[in-house]
Symmetry: D2
Subunit: 343 residues, 4 copies
């Protein structure tokens, strides 16, 4: 069995890790930490877990965590980067769901997060955990930085186009929308039912923290700098991300449907839909899956890609488990075969 | 024009008062207070009000408020009871939307609210603002205690039965459900979209603060003590209360449909639906209206009454304006003719 | 492997059977029928199933179905009762999710469904598939009638009280609410987003078809006739049933919490919550589980039981799989260990 | 009083016209037609209207409609174009909320709607009813074609940029989202709560019927052909449209915030929000208002405009009443001062 520790278990990515690991035949969650809820049973906070775990939250202690084979950080940014060096030194593998190790450039990180990076020396060891691009590096990694939810949906949608230089990398547009669970389990007026249900709005238009991560990842596959106009929106629902991506075609793109299908043919968690079928967030709800469509409306020069994920699964905890499977040499799909909950 | 002050304008009953008063031809809102938001424009917090008000929040000062003809308290409990004595002494009329003056018995109030009442001497002057029962007393009142949202829906549903002694007053059951706006505009995890949308639950089963208010009001019309089992539930939506009321019939009740219709025939804001039509919260959304149906399933001895209101209108701010109209001798329906927003 | 046929696979209980059976290690779905969609791939209609099934809908033919070990009917009423006799004659086990075999009395069935029963001779063979009451009979059954969604939630909530004669069986009240998926996948204006979301209403107050089923089941455990006032409501959400049950206590009930806990101690899919914790539909979303709480508000003589299920799982397809496991001597929990999808 | 007829009153734009006209001091609705519901009281279908109208649906007869001062068509396309010629001949003013007269080019109309236009001779008389562009022409019109909901939001957002030639008219992108009420009150599986709530998807990507209308209107203000990539999405809520618009700036645009503010300074129903504030659909819910923001993320060359309306008000019935006011020389805001219903 793989002995697992989870730091920061009271948020939505924490409970989602527990949901997924409950059906993972090799996983054994040994510790789940929370300063605020230390001592409280996990299933008291999350009654959907009753009967599945006999665990209580504990104080986060590096010593105990270091005895695990793998530690997940399901924390806000600025937690992992303070504890990871010690864990790595102890030989523990780390999968960080937060933003701490996603940007290779510590200065860039500081600009977007407003504080110095606490362990820039680890950045070189961190592998960006998008298996569809970095599978081999992940397999050998001791520290994986799980991609953000928006970056997962946006990158998977644009990669086939940028890898082949089919679109202008300077004019990329990502109009994306997320369910409210993306904002975490925090008491904020903006995310109350009375504020955020039955409404739709853009936010972070002038600069969302996922932008540099998206641009870094896309530049890697494009082999050059890219420029993305990224506008996130808040959906009146809990789970799901939908990215609508626009790019200007350069030259004759050929058969885009075939290109997308072949790019992801061997990917277990990327599903290119048949031509003319558009993805819905509900068909990936609860599933570790990205569903993608591509179209060129009116045959004009703009390609539109639609990409959906469950922000808590392929956009966070599911992708984290996928990374764990790869790191440990387990079958990549172990524990991740859930069918989306429809309706 | 009626000069109006509103204490506590940053909550949902505050913004709802502003919405309703914007179309009230005699109302002029002179002051709206908020300690936390003092100095900030009202339409910055509530952009639906842009163009309708040129007002900023101010500190709550009794002196300024006392210069108003009417002051509304759209506050949590324990605010009005500290300021009302001074306002009454200054000759200002007060309409309190909070719970401070709803219970006649200060000891009972203390038991349910966990603190002493700050101005028990005013309780005798307070008129319970349910116009369908107390219209005359309201007309002469200087202090009106607006009913709670659940108590409005429950009492209007049971009054016709209890006035005529048609049901056993010791076995009343109220299974009611409210939209999340009833919980106010406060940062609480429980009321996040991710927690309270897409779900349904009971709460406060062993004792909700609206219970003593319901029992006090129903005892008045029954002419004896009543006992209510009251179970409130949280609906995954913003506005609306639905009360499903059960009572045991005593003897032959006669034609209940006709009884309900005649009881409310002259009430402008209580609408008894035709036999066989059940109320929906959406048909009263945004309207100062209670829609009611009555049925006796299978002709057995249990009567079922269904009663719906918009908790922010007939359950709070609309009823408050209705009370103001009555107190000032204005037409009772002034500013309250909004059609429900359907769909 | 168990060879499975599903009749009527285009509805929500059909797709839910497929979701659950996809993770059932012994199940092999051989045929799924639909007259309207014959020839169309299942995953075209339900893209959440892509990669999980390589099946197309077929015409319902008894011959082919009879070659299965088990046939599920996920149909409206009045389909199963015409095909079941032939299937039983062929030795095929049948699990009917519709209402056709739930009532033992064909005349009563006709009164509620407005037509004669097509195979009353099979009623004596039908076992009512509520494992918490009928486990042994189910194990030996060839035809199981799966309980309705409301009846499951209501019966599980009242059984502990009625078995012990703790409450008056003539004064039972069930105020229940269901998500819209309970109305099925049919094009009806009433169930459009614009009609049924953001609203709440009662329906079927004068007589819902689940009433006789509830009363039949409760009479069995009470050992006498019972009378239930049953008011269903429509919730503005997709999945979930919440039943709020009221009954008059007779004599000293003793410790109800302990009674409920002990009654369901060995039941894998009934979860009595700790005292003071009330169930939410979201904590059983997607799970084959009933969560229950019991309370006696203010220590008066009325007991309140709250009971939640996912109407498509423990209220339909999950319970059907549970019945299949019992009939075939498989572990009862096989394929049914899904954790509820929270948030 | 203005005598008003409404053709097709059973849809959402019909009931919304009735809601708005109920508070219009000069409007008298004399007839409301529906073939399917002829003879049924309007408030039976829409109980929010109880007490506001004493009207029943009638068969649509041109003779009776011709006696009205103004006739609104709240119908699907292909109804108005068959009745309008006769009404115009009788001297009745017509306001068509459907698509029949929106495109000036009958051949283009036929291409998108798949049938010949029944009264192309009237197209020259039809004025496109976007008051912010065509106020004078509307004042003199006998036939007004009300803009579609998406076209209203998209055009109001792009007009200030295109009028000044600030952006490339060949590279316009409109990523827009609508509540489900935009799909009308029709029994379609796709719009059930169980299908369309709790999800988000794009639709009509390869060609939505609002595209030629958008391009026609924008070409008028740009003084040249324009090319728009238009991707509509379905929001899991009832009311509201949000358009997120992207365009490439040409040269130095100057101060866009000031440009937008000055363009709409005298428009009663277009509200440019302060810099940095983004619109939400909820702040225009129920109101005849378009709220707009403009931003240039990271100061790069792409301008982003966000534009919100209530699709049933400024996107349909409210705009129709606004057009009526202009046509009849009434104050443009009469009956349209509703404050948005927030929360």
């Amino acid at each position: 069995m793989v002995k697992i520790g989870i730091v920061g278990g009271t948020g939505y990515t924490g409970v989602e890790l527990l949901r997924l690991l409950a059906s993972h035949e090799r996983a054994e969650v040994a510790a789940i930490t929370s300063r605020a809820e230390s001592g409280r049973r996990v299933d008291e906070l999350f009654p959907n877990l009753r009967g599945h775990y006999d665990l209580a939250f504990s104080e986060p202690e590096v010593g105990e965590l270091a005895s695990c084979d793998v530690v997940f950080f399901a924390t806000p940014h600025n937690v992992a980067m303070n504890m990871v060096p010690e864990l790595l030194a102890a030989g523990t593998r780390v999968i960080d769901l937060s933003a701490d190790y996603r940007l290779r450039d510590a200065a860039l990180w500081s600009r977007w997060y407003g504080e110095p990076h606490a362990s820039p020396e680890c950045l070189a060891d961190a592998v960006y955990g998008l298996p569809e691009v970095n599978r081999e590096a992940i397999a050998g990694a001791r520290l994986v930085a799980c991609p953000g939810c928006y970056p997962t949906a946006v990158q998977l949608g644009l990669i086939p186009l940028l890898e082949r230089q089919l679109v202008d990398p300077q004019q990329l547009i990502a109009s994306a929308a997320s369910g409210v669970s993306g904002a975490g389990r925090q008491a904020k007026i903006d995310n109350l039912v009375s504020e955020a249900s039955d409404s739709f709005k853009a936010y972070g238009v002038t600069g969302h923290r996922h932008l540099p991560e998206i641009e870094q990842g896309l530049a890697d596959v494009a082999g050059q700098q890219v420029s993305v106009t990224f506008v996130p929106h808040l959906l009146p629902m809990i789970r799901g991300i939908h990215a609508t991506l626009f790019a200007n075609l350069q030259g004759d793109p050929g058969e885009l449907q075939a290109l997308f299908e072949s790019r992801y043919a061997s990917e277990p968690f990327v599903d290119v839909l048949p031509a003319g079928v558009y993805p819905q967030t509900r068909t990936v709800r609860g599933a570790n899956r990205c569903q993608i469509s591509v179209a060129v409306p009116q045959g004009r020069g703009t390609v539109v890609v639609m990409s959906t994920i469950d922000n808590l699964v392929k956009g966070a905890s599911g992708q984290a488990v996928q990374n764990m499977n790869i790191m440990l040499g387990l079958p990549e799909t172990m524990g991740l075969q859930q069918v989306g909950l429809l309706p």
